[in-house]
C-alpha cells in the first residue's frame, strides 16, 4: 500500500513535468513580424529551453526522491558534510546566476538597448497614437512632417477627438484615423503614445511591442515591421468596461500601397 502510494505520487510529479514539457513545446506565439522581435523571441526561446530543462530535472528528482524514500527502512546519513552543503549551494547559486543573469546580459540587454537607446532612423514614419476609452486615435503629420498643436479644452469626442487647434498651419495637413494604422514594410516606425483618460497599453502581439500609454507622458516606441499583412492592436492595461474589445488594426503595406492609403484617409477626412 505504502509503495503503491509512493508510485502514484512520484508518477504525479514526473507525469506532470513530462506532460507539461510536451504541452508547452506545442504552443506557438503569434507569428513574428518585426526586426527587434527576433531578439525577444531568441530571449524567450533561451528561457523556454533552459527553464524547461530545470523544471523537468527538478520534478524528476522530486519524483525519484519520493519513489525511493517510501521504500527506505532506515534513514541515510543525517547530515551532508558542511563542505557538501556549501559546494552545493555555491554551485547552484553560481549556476542560476549564469543562467538568469547571463541570459539577460548576453541576449536580453542588447535587444533592450537596440529597442530603447538606438537613435531613431531618419526615414522613420512618425505616428501619434492617442488612446482613449476604448479606441486608438491615430494621427499622421501629413506632407509638412509636423503635427499641429492640440488643446484638451477643444476636445470633443464627436467633432474633434484630439482637440486640434484649428488655426495652427502645421495641423492643416494632419491625417487623423480611428483604430487604423498603416506603415511600410521594412521602414522604421516611430510611435508617440499618449492617453486622454486612463492608462492603456499599446500591444502589438505579432511585433513584440508593448508600451503603456500613460496620461501626462509621451513615451515612444521605434521598431521595424518585416512582414506585410493586417495585424491586430490590443490594449494590455485594464482601462475600463470595454478593455477586452479595444481593438485596432495595424496594416503593413508596400510603399506604394501606403501612399495610396494615406491619400485615401486624407480625402475621407475632407482634405482638412
Amino acid at each position: 500500500m505504502k509503495t503503491l502510494e509512493g508510485w502514484l505520487v512520484s508518477l504525479l510529479f514526473a507525469g506532470t513535468a513530462i506532460a507539461g514539457v510536451v504541452y508547452g513545446s506545442g504552443i506557438r506565439m503569434p507569428e513574428l513580424a518585426s526586426r527587434h522581435g527576433a531578439g525577444i523571441d531568441a530571449m524567450l526561446a533561451y528561457l523556454l529551453v533552459t527553464v524547461g530543462g530545470l523544471f523537468l530535472a527538478g520534478y524528476l528528482a522530486l519524483a525519484y526522491f519520493i519513489w525511493r524514500g517510501v521504500r527506505r527502512a532506515e534513514i541515510g546519513p543525517r547530515f551532508a558534510t558542511r563542505k557538501t552543503e556549501i559546494l552545493l549551494s555555491g554551485a547552484l547559486g553560481l549556476g542560476m546566476a549564469v543562467i538568469a543573469e547571463g541570459g539577460v546580459l548576453a541576449i536580453g540587454m542588447p535587444v533592450w538597448q537596440e529597442y530603447f537607446a538606438a537613435a531613431t532612423p531618419a526615414d522613420a514614419i512618425t505616428i501619434d497614437v492617442t488612446a482613449q476609452q476604448f479606441m486608438w486615435n491615430v494621427r499622421y503629420p501629413g506632407p509638412d512632417g509636423r503635427f499641429g498643436r492640440t488643446d484638451p479644452r477643444l476636445v470633443d469626442d464627436s467633432s474633434n477627438p484630439l482637440g486640434l487647434v484649428p488655426d495652427d498651419p502645421a495641423g492643416k495637413d494632419d491625417v487623423v484615423t480611428l483604430n487604423e494604422i498603416a506603415v511600410v514594410v521594412n521602414r522604421p516606425v516611430r510611435i508617440q503614445l499618449r492617453s486622454k483618460d486612463v492608462i492603456h497599453s499599446f500591444f502589438l502581439p505579432n511585433f513584440r511591442v508593448k508600451q503603456d500609454a500613460v496620461p501626462g507622458m509621451t513615451p515612444e516606441v521605434v521598431f521595424v515591421p518585416t512582414r506585410t499583412g493586417e495585424f491586430e492592436i490590443a490594449c494590455a492595461e485594464l482601462c475600463g468596461l470595454a478593455h477586452y474589445r479595444m481593438r485596432g488594426f495595424f496594416h503593413v503595406l508596400t510603399a506604394e500601397q501606403f501612399e495610396n492609403w494615406l491619400r485615401l484617409q486624407s480625402a475621407a477626412a475632407g482634405g482638412r
Binding site: V51, D212, G216, M217
Partner: protein, 596 residues
Amino acid sequence: MSTHVLGGPPRSPHNVGPAPVEHEPGFIRRYVFSTDHKIIGIQYILTGLVMAIAGAALATLIRLQLGWPEHHWLWLSRLLPVGMPSGVMTPEFYLAVVTMHGTIMVFFFVSFVLVSGFGNYLVPLQVGARDMAFPFLNMLSYWIALLSAVTMLASFLVEGGAAAAGWTAYPPLSAVAAAVPGSQMGQTIWLLSMALFIASFTMSGLNIVATVFSVRAPGLSMMRLPLTVWSYFIASILGLLAFPPLTAAAVMLLLDRHFGTSFFLPSGLIIANKVLPNTGGSPLLWQHLFWFLGHPEVYVLILPALGIACDILPAFTRKPVFGYRISVWCLVAVGCLSMIVWGHHMFVSGMSPFSGEYFSLVTLTITVPMTIFGVNMLASLWGAKLQLTTAMLFSLGVIALFGSGGLGGLFLGNATADMQLHDTYFVVGHFHMMIGGVTLLATFGAIYFWFPKMFGRMMNETLGKLHFWFTFAPFFLIFFMQHFLGLQGAPRRYYAFTAFDYLQKTRGQNLVISIAAMVLISGQFLFLVNFVWSLFRGHRAAANPWHATTLEWTVASPPPHGNFDAVPVVQRWAYEYGVQTIDGDFAVQTVPSVSA
C-alpha cells in the same frame, strides 16, 4: 544582524516566573474578545477560511465567464440580478469580481490564515512563550482586521458596485468616478478597508517581531529557531517596512478622489468627454508606491509558506532539514533583495529603460538565494524514510509549485522577455503558482499538521489525501496552461477572448482551464467536510502525534491557557531527528543533549 547579541537567553516577564494565575475568564473573554494568541490565531484562520469561500465563489464566476463567455446561466441571474441580469455577467460586474477576487485572496485569505493566523498560533508556542509580546494589541489587530474584511465585502452593495480597477488600483482608472462604475463609492470603500487592513497587519507584524526578539525561551538562540519562526520574523519585518508607503498612497488617492488634489492626476485629462481640473500629478507615482509595498508583500506571503513546509518535511522524512544555516541566510538575503526590486512590475510602464535594466539585474539575483532554498527543501528528501501523510503530500506540493512558479519568475524578471509577457496570462499563471499555490498548499499542509494541536483531534487522512489529489492536479493544470496563454499574447483582465482574431484559438484552452477550475473548487468540499467532521468526531490527538521536535509538541493538545506549565529550557536546535532517545528516533528541543 549579529546572532551573537541575539543569542543569549532572553528574559522577560512572559517567560520567567510561575504560570499566570487562572481567573477562569468567561466565555466572551475566553473565545470572543480573547487576548490568548491561540484563540486569536484560530479566529484569524476561521475568518480567513470564510473569506476564502467568498474568494473561491468569485473565482468560479470568473471561470464561468471565461470558459463559456456567451452562455446564459439562468439560475445565476436569479441569484445575482444586478451583476448577471440575463444570466450573462456584465463587464462592470466581471471587473469588480476580478478585483475583489484578487483583493480577498491576497489580503483576506492568505494574509489572514497563513501570516496572521498561523503566525499568531505558532510563533509564541515555538519560541516557548506564554503569549505574544503584546496580547492586547494582538486582540485589537484581529478585530480591526475583521472590520476591514466586512467593509471590503460590503462594497459589493454600494452604488456602482465594488472596486473594479484591479487589485493594483492604478489611477486614473481608480481615481475618477466616471472612468469605471467601480470607481464610484466602491473604490473609496476599498481604500478605507485597505487602510484598516494595513493598520491591523502592522500591529500583528510588530507583535511577531517583538515576540521573536524578546520572549524566546531560555536557551533558544536565533540559530535554534525553527524555519517557521525565521520566516515569520523576516516576513513581519518586510511587512513593517513595506506597508506604510501604501498607507500613504491610499490616503493620497482618497484625497485625489474626494478633495480635489492631483497627486496621481496629470493636466488635461478628459474623461467622459469632460476636461478635469487636475494638474501636475503623476500616475506612475502610484505604481511606484504600490509596488514598493506590493513586491515585498508577495514575500510576506510566501516566506511563511516556505518556512512551514520546511518544518513539516522533517517530521515525515525523519531527518533534519538540509542546509538549515544556509537556508536561514537565504531567507535574510531574499528579505533584503525584495525591498529593491519593485520596478520589475513596471518595465513597460514608461519608466526609464535604464531603471528597467537595473531592476532586471537585481530581480534576477533573487533567483540565487531562492534556488538554494528550494533545492535545500528538495535535498531534505535525500536519504529520507518517507511517510506520505496528507500534510507531507501538501508540503511536497509546495516544493513542486515553488519550483515551477519560481522558474516562471526568470521570464518575468527579464525585462526583454517581459516586453511580450507583461500584463498577459503568463503573469497570472506565475503569481497564482507562487502566492496562490505555494501559499494555498502550505496553508492546507499547516492545517493538516497543526489541526491536532489546535483542536485536540486528528483530521481524516483518507479524505485528506483525496483532497490533495483534487487540489494539486487541477491547480497545476490551470496555472501551467495560463503561462502559455500569455505566450500566445492573451492579456489579463479581459472580460472575454471573443473580440480578437489572434485570441480565438485560446478559447478552447480557456474552456479546459474552466473545467479544471470547477474540479479544483469541488475538491475543496472534501476539505470542508473533513475539517468540520474532524472538529467534532476526529480521533483524539496525543500531545505529539507526528513525533515532531519543536516546542509546541511538548504541551497538551490543545495547549492550555498560558501554554507551558513551566518555562521550557531549550537544549537543542529545532530539527533533532534521526537520534535515539527514549521517545523514539527524535528529540524534542527540551531534551538535554548527551554531550552537554
